[in-house]
């Protein structure tokens, strides 16, 4: 839907209205003279509002930023609290319905229908991935297989026996399933799989091509995070013209200092929810780096689109003062014909940071002649170094020696802190 500035403002004001009774917002908005939603006269005014961060959620743990009384909350989700307390979000019945409708609409756009059998191999539980897709598929009327993550042999068996046509999971798990399929007694011809809905971790275009080729499906990138709603904030369009953002989310792109950037420029994605009740978010910093575009797509979508998330601010490594993202390494690895099973190990020798990239050797990249193997290794080294701007050490390792993940892949081991 094409909205005018005034129409967006109306939605944004409603969200401001909803959060103003909450102390955290009252204080921070009051400090810049915003006491009522009507004080926001333009998008420029809106952009003056302080940003909300994960830290704000932690400070108000667990329910301090909920906008509805607890009796109206029907579900809680939480993100993993690896660095402290988890961030908790609450949904009203209306929120759950809205979320399901958003996901259903998006799935419909990439060709999922009520006749499809959707195997949801995202984790179920506090993580929003499993439940988010689940409710969306049910809303659509598709047959849901709530298998959750893990138990790869059973995933493949049921994929065949139930005739699953759609697979939803992280891209790294999809690749692991493809790899396991090739080694199993089940042949691709016995499967009916045609569409993949993959997300919850950054992945590259090369990774998509790899998954599409090995599983023989069309793969689509789904975006979301629990603080905003969960999966379905955006889904890639069938024309692969970026990820279309649902109209219940108002996106902005900011530079490192928090200044708004124009369309097409790379920066941090910031989102405000519209019509959300239990846990409305205002100008939430996603820590995801992408670019925004506004317009009409050939698939019929009108509104905001975002590019594939190239990296998470949190995934960024600073090595010898240079910003390094694992996705840059993944791209180079795929371009040199290696398999996308890799691990970045950062360590320190003396006062100097070192980056070691471990890559698995496969039948396709192994050569009997050491000279040729080393040549391949050198080409990969050069490509990664060109992309990152720092020197790296490449270590070829045996297949399957890098642990496979059933959820989000572990791409980095940083040993610098432990070694002090």
């Amino acid at each position: 839907m094409d909205r005018t500035e005034e129409q967006w403002l109306e939605g944004l004001r409603e969200t401001v209205d909803k959060v103003l009774p909450i102390r955290h917002y009252q204080e921070s908005y009051g400090a810049i003279g915003i006491k009522r939603a009507e004080d926001i006269k333009s998008l420029k005014d809106f952009q003056r509002l302080p940003l909300t961060t994960k830290e704000d959620l932690r400070k108000n743990y667990p329910f301090g930023l909920f906008a509805e009384p607890m009796e109206n909350i029907v579900r809680l989700h939480a993100s993993s609290g690896t660095t402290g307390k988890p961030t908790v979000v609450g949904y009203t019945r209306q929120d759950i319905t809205l979320w399901a409708k958003i996901v259903a609409n998006e799935l419909k756009r990439v060709g999922v229908t009520k006749k499809d059998v959707v195997q949801i191999a995202y984790g179920y539980g506090l993580f929003t991935g499993g439940m988010g897709l689940h409710y969306g598929c049910e809303e659509l009327g598709a047959i849901v297989v709530p298998i959750s993550g893990g138990n790869t042999a059973r995933q493949l068996m049921l994929m065949r026996d139930f005739g699953s046509t759609v697979l939803a999971c992280t891209p790294s798990y999809a690749l692991y399933l493809a790899e396991s399929l090739e080694e199993s007694q089940i042949s691709r011809d016995e499967l009916k799989l045609k569409i993949g809905i993959f997300g919850a971790e950054p992945w590259t275009e090369g990774m998509r091509e790899e998954i599409e080729a090995r599983l023989g499906i069309k793969a689509f990138d789904i975006y979301g995070l629990s603080e905003i709603m969960g999966p379905g904030v955006a889904l890639e369009c069938p024309a692969h013209q970026g990820l279309h953002i649902d109209e219940h989310f108002y996106p902005e792109i900011l530079d490192e200092e928090g200044n708004p950037l124009p369309d097409g420029e790379l920066g941090e994605l910031v989102i405000t929810s519209i019509e959300k009740e239990g846990f409305p978010v205002l100008r939430y910093r996603t820590k995801d780096l992408t670019t925004l575009h506004y317009g009409t797509c050939s698939c019929g979508h009108v509104g905001w689109s975002m590019d594939r998330v190239s990296a998470r601010v949190d995934d960024m490594l600073i090595i010898r003062g240079v910003n390094v993202f694992p996705s840059q390494v993944e791209e180079a690895i795929l371009l040199e014909g290696f398999e996308p099973h890799y691990l970045l190990v950062v360590y320190r020798v003396g006062n100097l940071d070192q980056l070691e990239v471990q890559v698995e050797v496969s039948e396709a990249t192994f050569f009997d002649e050491v000279r040729e193997l080393e040549g391949r290794q050198d080409r990969l080294k050069k490509r990664i170094e060109d992309a990152l701007g720092i020197s790296v050490r490449i270590r070829l390792v045996e297949p399957k020696s890098i642990p496979r993940s059933e959820g989000k892949a572990v791409r980095v081991i940083d040993k610098r802190n432990k070694e002090g």
Binding site: V361, E363, F366, E369, R371, E374, R395, L396, V397, E398
Partner: protein, 133 residues
């Protein structure tokens, strides 16, 4: 003849593991050589049934490739190998690597040769008519 080339990560016990795997598969090693670099090694072996062994190793997640090599009989006396090599050099054969072993039944000395250009080697072998295993 086909040689098996196996990728080995430089990890403690990995060589012993793979050699044990070959024993489990009831493979008799006729000859063996190990090329090593800082991080990994390439184990090259001559066995009786290379194709069959490769399948078994792949089932056990070992990266292996089959490499065509020549196994030449070499006169077991001083200068025997030099004679053979000099003849090959005259035919423009470039050797990538080489290792030797002895057949115990007849005490025959053998060398495994990997050459840069297969066609040149084939032509040289036709011309020289060197004894092969």
């Amino acid at each position: 003849m086909l040689q098996l080339s196996i990728f080995l990560e430089n990890a403690k016990g990995r060589l012993a593991e793979v050699i044990s795997l070959l024993a489990e598969c009831k493979v008799n090693l006729r000859a063996l050589s190990l090329a090593d670099t800082k991080d990994y090694g390439v184990l090259r072996i001559i066995v009786d049934n290379p194709e069959e062994t490769a399948v078994k190793l792949r089932e056990r997640k070992v990266v292996v490739s089959l490499t065509p090599v020549w196994v030449l009989k070499v006169p077991d006396r001083t200068g025997g190998l030099a004679e053979v090599l000099n003849q090959l050099v005259q035919q423009d054969v470039v050797v990538e690597y080489m290792y030797a072993f002895v057949e115990k039944e007849n005490e025959q000395a053998l060398v495994v040769l990997r050459v840069q250009d297969k066609a040149i080697m084939e032509k040289a072998m036709q011309t020289l008519n060197l004894p092969v295993k």
